[in-house]
């Protein structure tokens, strides 16, 4: 069981690596985490995790599980909001939130 490990993930890029790095940072068991892309032409990313004693693999797994929860929660909120406002307004195509057409 290692507390410091470098994970090299193939077929991944900033999309996953930055999100995982953020979620890892939020975990109090992590003392250092970061990612790097060794070469932009090769499609892989190195994620380094250093913990305060726990297994780095377990901490990374937990962070990935948390990321899945974050993502599905955002989708759930959006879908729930759209469905509830459709029922509330009973319109064929949903009109929303104070009928605000904010032009920016």
């Amino acid at each position: 069981m290692k507390a410091c490990q470098l994970f090299s993930v193939i077929d991944e890029d900033h999309t996953l690596a930055n999100s995982v790095r953020f979620v890892l940072n939020q975990d109090p068991r992590v003392s250092f985490c970061g990612y790097s892309i060794p070469h932009p032409s090769d499609n892989n990313v190195n994620i380094r995790v250093q913990t305060t004693g726990d297994s780095a693999k377990d901490v990374l797994k937990d962070a990935l599980h948390d990321l899945v929860q974050c993502a599905s929660m955002s989708d759930l909120h959006l879908t729930h909001l759209l469905l509830s406002s459709r029922q509330h307004n009973q319109l064929k195509r949903w009109k929303l939130m104070n009928n605000f057409l904010v032009s920016i």
Binding site: T15, V20, L67, Q69, A71, S72, M73, D75, R93
Partner: protein, 368 residues
């Protein structure tokens, strides 16, 4: 002996534990946009950043669940603008990247030219056809890899056969002249050697494609100019569309674009009254400021609509002392998705979320 204006560190008043002083709170939660460039852009993400002050900077899932909010501002068939509050730039950017390059759509990939005497050269014509958005839901179709047989589950076949008669004026070929062939390709791969023999075409449809897609397929916009023909010129071709992702070629990107910006916040550093206030309201062309009457004939400027701020920084220009501070709220994102595919924008977002989940699951299964 203490010098004048110098306070020893030991004489400083105690910072209250458990709560960040205001300037650190601004550094943690806001990006400050100065006249030349923004500062504090990276953000303090490490959970133990403020450990010495007794503050936990981590966001466990429970706290995230409580604080996270979504508000939809505008929703039409093609476009959606919504706010995500409580999320970080890393995850918002992940969604944006997935929407642009990894959500699949259908687009024309192979074009079989039979006759092309138009002024548009073969490959340019094929390129244009590839970029034409198709009205086909990619969720009903499967990917086609190199050696797969083209069947009704992974290929959509279109035919284009236009000619401009001699003596008639120039003809513009529009995208609605692409005809969908629900029974598959009509071009024969090999000429039949015996009369009456079953002819082998470029696809092997076992049934009509109407069973796969319940409604007729076609192009999304009927008025896209594909080519122009002079008298006596013809185009005859068959186009096969497959499922793909934007990473491989931009024609498969489902969004015209998808972008986000952080919620602007405008804060007055000093009171702006009277003539200065009128000038300030006039300077901002987005209508961020407005005047309020204070009663005794005095007028003061206040922030009416911070959301409209585009960071043009006109309010900071030409003044010696900044009257306002322009900031962005670090965890409030205004997302806009413009769909260019057959799928409405809210469905695109759901698909993007599913793809992020799949990526995580893949790494989790590799780690186990």
């Amino acid at each position: 002996m203490t010098k004048k204006g110098f306070t020893s560190a030991l004489d400083m008043p105690d910072v209250p534990m458990g709560k960040l002083p205001d300037h650190l709170e601004v550094q943690r939660t806001r990006v400050v946009c100065k006249a030349d460039a923004p500062i504090n852009t990276e953000g303090i993400q490490y959970s133990g950043s403020y450990a010495t002050m007794g503050i936990d900077n981590s966001t466990p899932l429970e706290r995230f669940r409580k604080n996270f909010k979504v508000e939809v501002i505008r929703l039409t068939e093609d476009e959606m603008e919504f706010d995500m509050i409580g999320i970080d730039a890393a995850i918002a950017n992940a969604f944006r990247r997935i929407l642009i390059s990894e959500v699949p759509t259908m687009a024309i990939e192979r074009v079989f030219m039979v006759d092309n005497t138009s002024p548009i050269v073969d490959e340019v014509l094929a390129h244009r056809l590839g970029l034409t958005p198709l009205d086909a839901d990619p969720r009903l179709f499967e990917y086609m890899s190199g050696h797969d047989v083209a069947n009704e589950r992974n290929t959509i076949v279109f035919k284009l056969h236009v000619s401009c008669k001699k003596g008639s004026p120039r003809l513009t070929v529009k995208s609605d002249q692409l005809e969908w062939l629900p029974d598959g390709s009509k071009l024969h791969e090999v000429a039949p050697s015996l009369p009456g023999e079953q002819q082998k075409t470029y696809t092997s449809f076992s049934g009509s494609q109407m069973e796969v897609s319940k409604k007729p397929l076609g192009v999304m916009h009927k008025d896209i100019t594909i080519a122009r023909l002079g008298p006596g010129q013809t185009i005859e071709l068959e186009a096969h569309a497959v499922k793909g992702i934007g990473k491989v070629h931009a024609k498969w990107s489902p969004v015209a674009t998808a972008w986000y910006r952080m919620l602007p916040e405008v804060v007055f550093l000093k009171e702006v009254k009277g003539e200065e206030a009128v000038q300030l309201v006039d300077k901002c062309k987005q209508g961020v400021f407005d005047i309020e009457d204070l009663g005794n004939g005095e007028r003061r400027a206040f922030v009416k609509n911070p959301r409209a701020c585009t960071l043009c920084r006109e309010c900071l220009r030409g003044v010696s002392e900044d009257p306002v501070e322009l900031r962005r709220v670090r965890d409030h994102f205004i997302f806009t998705i413009e769909s260019a595919a057959a799928v409405p924008p809210e469905v695109l977002f759901t698909e993007a979320v599913k793809i992020l989940e799949e990526k995580c699951e893949r790494v989790i299964s590799e780690l186990s």
